[in-house]
Symmetry: C2
Subunit: 189 residues, 2 copies
């Protein structure tokens, strides 16, 4: 298969952008898969901040990443990222929607998601990526999707490239990827 | 820059899917850039069929690919691909719109484009790719774009994966990529 699925493609972008020693954010720790992957990429000279509002997710992520000492688990809203993360980051990743195998009525919401994305963009290094995998098949999902799309489309192209990667002939609202790269600022003459 | 632009990303997909000895189609030879690139990928044990309705484009492509003996230049509509190409192909590439530096009123049109894509899909090997870079900023461009999108969205997901790769915060209707991969057919039990 030549065309990468959304989740492997997301991982391949993280591999390209995250270096040993970097600080990064997993804004939706969930069951800890991305946190674990990021912990490997940053190495123990780096730092992974993993957020989730559900204790169940934090516990699952703790178990999955117990081999690492450079993962900070934060049971709080990702709308408060800027309170916990004060250094520059090379990447942040969001998996929107509900906790897989968890309570499907507890979902990420447009308001806090947009705040979190905005705070990650503020902390983002030049050349860094904010990645959001967007699921919209669940109740409330399409509202969040639309809000995120409205927000990212208006990001100024002088400062950001915003890319959408999506399979368009699938049934059942498959997830798609939004990738935001912070560009080098042009020097004023 | 981590996020590849549309044209380099298109080339990287061709590199992954085209092997030495393959037959491939450049459905819009234009100034011959893709034909030249494909001729390198297939090697002289392969074959590149390059179509353009404009003699000016065929001549430009001839000059750019004169080092190769396995390029067949066809000054005819790509709606007749199946008349010229009878073997299986691993890839076909379309750059829709007008000839760069040519007459901007001579443009690819929805009808013939859809026929050409359909004929390429018929010839396409399992695992092969049909790639279409879609420009829609010119007069007539949005009609063709909409027709292509309607067509590819309804391709059955049991037989094809259809992916869209696009930058969504840019002004001036930048080109985007549609990639169609032919899937392995499931064996009936």
């Amino acid at each position: 298969m030549t065309l990468q699925r959304v989740l492997p493609f997301t991982k391949s972008l993280l591999e390209q952008v995250v270096q040993k020693g970097d600080a990064v954010v997993d804004a939706t720790a969930g069951n800890g898969h991305d946190t674990h992957f990021l912990a490997g990429l940053t190495g123990d000279s780096g730092k992974v901040y993993a957020f989730d509002i559900q204790q169940q997710a934090i516990e699952a992520t703790r178990q999955r990443t117990e081999a690492f000492r450079h993962v900070e688990l934060i049971c709080d809203s990702h709308a408060k990222i800027s309170q916990y993360v004060t250094e520059s980051i090379s990447a942040a990743v969001f998996n929107l929607g509900y906790l897989p195998k968890g309570d499907h009525t507890i979902i990420t919401k447009a308001d806090s998601t947009l705040q979190a994305i905005g705070q990650c963009l503020e902390r983002l290094k030049t050349g860094g990526l904010v990645l959001a995998v967007i699921y919209s098949g669940h109740d409330g999902g399409s509202e969040e999707r639309d809000a995120v799309m409205d927000y990212v489309k208006q990001l100024p192209q002088t400062r950001y490239d915003v890319m959408k990667y999506e399979f368009i002939n699938q049934q059942h609202s498959p997830p798609f990827l939004i990738a935001i790269e912070k560009k080098q600022q042009r020097q004023k003459k």
